[in-house]
């Protein structure tokens, strides 16, 4: 797999962390919406967009992969998808 930070590395250096999903607003989402976000997978038999991490450097990125042919089509830093920083409620409120 071609890591956007480290270049091509052996696949055993990476972990797959599941699909890239749009997160509902954690404060306003209903339980059903939140459960759907946490548990449900589209589990597509086709091209999927996933979070991956290069473990030795703890670098997180996004990969597009064909889940039927086991080929990696594209990898890129998450900044290409997530342009803005997502701030959660301040810790003092929690």
């Amino acid at each position: 797999m071609n890591c956007p930070l480290n270049g091509p590395r052996n696949i055993s250096e990476f972990i797959s962390a599941g699909e890239v999903k749009a997160m509902p607003d954690p404060v306003r989402a209903s339980d059903a919406e939140w459960a759907d976000y946490v548990f449900t997978q589209s589990n597509k038999a086709g091209v999927v967009r996933e979070w991956w991490c290069h473990v030795p450097t703890s670098y997180w990125f996004i990969a597009e992969r064909d889940a039927t042919t086991d080929t990696i089509l594209k990898t890129y830093p998450p900044g290409e998808v997530f342009a803005e920083r997502r701030d959660f409620a301040p810790i003092s409120e929690a």
Binding site: S16, D31, D36, T40, Q41, S42, A45, E50, A67, D70
Partner: protein, 413 residues
Amino acid sequence: MPFGLLKYGLSRRYPEPRRIPPTPDLKPSYDVVIVGGGGHGLAAAYYLSHVHGIRNVAVLEKGYLASGNTARNTTIIRANYLTPEGVRFYGESVALYKELSETLDFNIMYSERGHLTLAHTDASVRTMRWRAEVNTHCGVRSELIWPDEIRRLCPSMNLSDKARYPVLAALLHPPGAIARHDAVAWGYAIRAAERGVEIHQQTEVTGLRIEGDRVVGVETNRGFVGAGKVLQAVAGSSTRLADMAGLRLPIRTVPLQACVSQPLKRFLDPIVVSGSLHVYISQSARGELVMGGSTDPYALYSSRSTLDFKEGLLAHMLELFPFLAEVKLLRQWAGMADMTPDFSPIMGLTPLANYYIDAGWGTWGFKATPVCGKRMAETIATGRAPDILDAFRLSRFAEFQQVGERGAAAVGH
């Protein structure tokens, strides 16, 4: 048997009658359509026709009979799970399996071996103790044993304390067994077909026709079939079929690889499993070592095999059985495991009124074949999920009521 063999040998025409009828023409509609002709679907068809008197049933199978995960598991049958819900469910399955050869009048080659789950760390000793207590409480035989007893049951295993991960203790589950996986599917198919169940091989479902909250029928590559009720039992393709029904599932489809060695003289009686080393191994009736490990590290719809898997698995296996170093592998394969977030299956009702689901079979599907068939048949016949399936309902995720099953294979402890 020798006379039977002689009769076969001398006969000009093969005297054995065809037991599973050839695929008939599709009727316009059936009371129940079962999608998936593997162990689970055929078991459900058997119990529908034999227990509930529902005989107008069609089983639709995309490939040939039991060609999916029924043919790709490692045939281990056990009930020593961790959650009370799981122990109760798999306990019923083991009880049904034990009688299955007689029930079906078809030899499934059920062989009770005893099942050893090894513990290599204090934490896993604690988990084994916990499992033993839960099992005993639920009436399933399990106990914690120490290396002297392990040595007696499995003298060929390396129990040295010089190993990288020495064996500290094991969970012994005497009812642990293996069986001939194809025979289970064939037995159910033969007996179901005798009661009028139609088995349609090479019949792929391409869509579901839905009106309101009901499924009215299924589209197949051989035309449309009307259905009173529909059961989906397609482990490995659960998401794809559920998509047609408009259901979203909490499932990731991940390959689970396994392999067998060349046949060896019988030396290994129990089934040996190590969650920490990600190894399970048993010796089949033919003498082959049947070996498996953890699921692949990422989701995939492909049954390809990888060198990473074999290196990892066999290195760990050699720690337990160093003398197998020169033994060659004979075959390897992979199946599609439908992994759920809580390592428990999904069974029962769906938001569609007459659509029933039997999915989420990750690494625990074969051992549940009889109980799942029986209880899903009951669900279809009565329209209500029995108590024993309630914990495994699809809606448990939206209710945050998961059944965290860390006694499943492929789960590290």
